[in-house]
Symmetry: C2
Amino acid sequence: MTSPRFTPLMAALPSTVPFVAAEAMERMAGRPFRARIGANESVFGPSPKAIAAMREAAANEAWLYGDPENHDLKIALAAAAGVRPENIVVGEGIDGLLGLTVRLFVDPGTPVVTSLGGYPTFDYHVAGHGGRFVRVPYLGDREDHVGLLDAAIRENAPLIYLSNPNNPMASWSLGADIEPTLARVPEGSLLILDQAYGEFAPADAFPRVDVDDPRVIRFRTFSKAHGMAGMRIAYGIAAPEIARAYDKIRNHFGVNRVAQAGALASIADTDWIAHVVASVNHAKARIAAIAAANGLVALPSATNFVAVDCGRDGAFAKAVLDGLVARGLFVRKPGVAPMDRCIRISAGTDADMDLLAEMLPQALADARR
Amino acid sequence: MTSPRFTPLMAALPSTVPFVAAEAMERMAGRPFRARIGANESVFGPSPKAIAAMREAAANEAWLYGDPENHDLKIALAAAAGVRPENIVVGEGIDGLLGLTVRLFVDPGTPVVTSLGGYPTFDYHVAGHGGRFVRVPYLGDREDHVGLLDAAIRENAPLIYLSNPNNPMASWSLGADIEPTLARVPEGSLLILDQAYGEFAPADAFPRVDVDDPRVIRFRTFSKAHGMAGMRIAYGIAAPEIARAYDKIRNHFGVNRVAQAGALASIADTDWIAHVVASVNHAKARIAAIAAANGLVALPSATNFVAVDCGRDGAFAKAVLDGLVARGLFVRKPGVAPMDRCIRISAGTDADMDLLAEMLPQALADARR
């Protein structure tokens, strides 16, 4: 048999996965993790009102295709964001929206600007469309938004990715500092401002954005503060001509109906989000205290996770990580120097944090041997 | 402002939707439908065991990303189909899998063979990747699988689409008749055999397929007999090299966790599927009787819907359809002649069928005026 006649781009791509799943690691280890604090999921779960809405929808509406226009959800999201429904695009998680965004702007060879060590799933989509990577190093532990724009202008790139707050470092830039960067985005280009962790960020981390400026799209998600990572629902806020462009290629019936119901209920439960943020802050303080008790430094965090500086190089941090994983703690770490000196720990329950306090000294001792 | 610098293909595509949703029609009409029997959803809903599993997952697991490897689900699906887990690819509905399949094989200008009047969402994906349509007319009310293969060989097309049973006509070909067609698929090409309605088909509608033949992928779904259209989960059965290729480009965490749980429970509840099939057969018999009572002919059906021949041309059938919609019945119809002489009615509850019996004579009288 001859090989399947994939397109040249597809034939050249590897079969891969941007992140090895916790479940895959559990299967390899032959036992479940004792704490799942590695994927920045919300251990505090969804709003009870969202759970009730999802349970109701699962029982009575699972047989119905979801509304492909996401009509009611767009109205609620627009009202909450102070924009118009035509400024909203709803998709299957930010991952799904990133894939569509890349497809809209990137042909083989198109330059795409992102950070060296930035979000792997964005890189996966860029590679999947044959984009040419223009990678800008972090500045310290933060994405270098000025450098990203310098590169975009130099390379005439139609697409730029910036996360604020940042994953994997939990760092952030002030909105007032980002605003001049946004003003520099060339006409016709689009800057993706990934605000997946926005609910955990200080108010001054948000740049003012003219919602009708077609040069910026902001992504928000129900996977983090809303505790609905498994439901696959997120949204973008953009100029109508950008939001409408997704209708060219999106899987119109792709957002599941139970997620739509849960999201609608969760938007209305602002008390729950405040509770989650407070719980996350409590957990982050515990991570910082545990790190300090072990002579390590927890970096400041505007997200639901903490990057803990292990104080040496990437190999040492990897050894610490491996020690935690071997002891049943699912955590992850940045892959690119110098950020790779850190491990990345998601906010957990008190029980999760107790396990971290117990295991970190052991993992460190092993790593130092 | 200059226009966004979309790729040339994207700039040329229209913003669209393959199907106007029932919800959109309800909003236009200002009132809900009285019967939703237009999208071939299963009014009989999911298995009670699937509902229980989904309610449990919605409450306790919505905060967790789903397993991107769909490990347990693949094992269960493989066991049920008598194949190996590496023969299975799981995706966000057949619509999602079709989009990925087109992306694997189609560059701008690549010939793609499908039926004139075939599945609009497949056409949407082909257009979205710039494929060149090679459309083969139906033979009577059935897809012309021999003609499709003639065209594929003539045009050297790497991708061919065939549904069996067929949507929108509910017709089918015998598996034994399709087998010689499958044998003619050129090496390196892929024939998509869409079996979304397979649970409703007679046993002799299934061609024997060598599961390790890389020239055929069969799609099955949880949206129809399993009653989980809103959950967005389906799967393909193919040679490992084909199934694995989706890992190049799929949204690895894209299948939602509640859907995974529901699907796993539904696979095990074969009694429920038997109940659904019996209920569908009852409803189809009622549709046929109602059609006959109005002097119309219900075509034979191997699906969960019936194409009713309105006896005149497409304009007349459209008038009948409009009359039903105006009276609160959500139904649809084929768009291409000569199939467009029909309206397409999904199996409904007895209450749905009572409404059809009441409204069809009125809609017909209006259409004849």
